[in-house]
Symmetry: C2
Amino acid sequence: MSTGPTFKRLPRAVREQQMLDAAVRVFSRRGFHAASMDEIAEDAGISKPMVYAYLGTKEELFVACLHREGTRMMQAIAGAAAPDLPADERLWRGLRAFFGFVGAHRDGWAVLYRQARGEQPFAGELATMRARLVEVVAGMLDHALRGEGREVAATDLEVVAYALVGATESLADWLADHPEADPEKTATRMMNVAWLGAGQLLHGVTWRPPAF
Amino acid sequence: MSTGPTFKRLPRAVREQQMLDAAVRVFSRRGFHAASMDEIAEDAGISKPMVYAYLGTKEELFVACLHREGTRMMQAIAGAAAPDLPADERLWRGLRAFFGFVGAHRDGWAVLYRQARGEQPFAGELATMRARLVEVVAGMLDHALRGEGREVAATDLEVVAYALVGATESLADWLADHPEADPEKTATRMMNVAWLGAGQLLHGVTWRPPAF
DNA sequence: GCGTAACCTTACGCACGAGTAGGTATGCTC
DNA sequence: GAGCATACCTACTCGTGCGTAAGGTTACGC
């Protein structure tokens, strides 16, 4: 056979990656429940029992996708936002890396966040990742605040960080739905909202509800 | 039968509300797929065919829940944020109404947002509601900007509004997960982030990426 | 008191898709 | 080139849960 049409035997590690690629594609376009293992297998160019043999049940497969995509994303962010930079520089680089990642892996983002958020077994998994991110952002805020000689209750920091992360995720959704949009520009916009808002808080400016 | 224990025949309108109540409860604690029509029927104290007769298929039932809860929420917000108030007052009242609503209907919120976001058939429905909200927020920003004699591209406004709405939803999630948290205080925190950040933008202060 | 229309039930059909049993081919080692 | 492990397949089982057919029962008009 002259050009051996590639659908020969492959080592396990390679097939596993192909399967994960297919799974991410299918999960993101169908949703967890509507996706069938048959379709994933077909998309990966393999038969169903192989998927079970390598990646386990449907839930385990989904978690595997979640982990791979999540780890890639975290690495992209961590690699960009070195901890010894000043706060605004760090935030900016982190945001840019994040939106760059989402822009480049729109379907990965879809499977990672939109699906996992609602489904009971995965919501916890996701919450853990988000919590790590919130922790980092809160740490940055705290660091910057102490640099200004100010101090704020941990809960307040956490909630503000939570809002910032939420806004960022929301813009990521927006980005995923607008293929023509520019990740870099989106990051700049987010930076504006985050840094100016947070910056005011850092300088002790706060808004208070009107007395009555 | 001395005290006829209430589980007699009831007019359609009443039963429909009972069913919707039950559906919201079950959907929110199980998720859309894991929820079974049998369980919803049982929870409503009725048999399954009645649910089908009144509210239609499972998807239609879910959409009905979505609509009822969504409408209630929109009315709560619209009723609080009168359009003739100044922008910050309006934003504050809207936020307070929103977080108050979420605090009072934590399971309704769960069914409304967390579930619908991921599931393909409902994501569109939800996106429509969110779009309306974004439109309103963007309108407020635009109004305030023009009051300052400034003008900003529609896309920029939309994206900022999107971020604000995302941050708010995120805090609502946080609130739903923290039963001891105070809606009013959460609203204040959100107002801080939103108003101070947006306020800066209104005054023409922007952040720019470092040149290199 | 009797029809009729709405309310409500039990009991089932049926499709779909997760997961598996058991068998075949291929390459690698000695 | 015998043996063995690993890659890979076709073809099934079987539970689950949506949606329904066909039949009871209560209220209300006349």
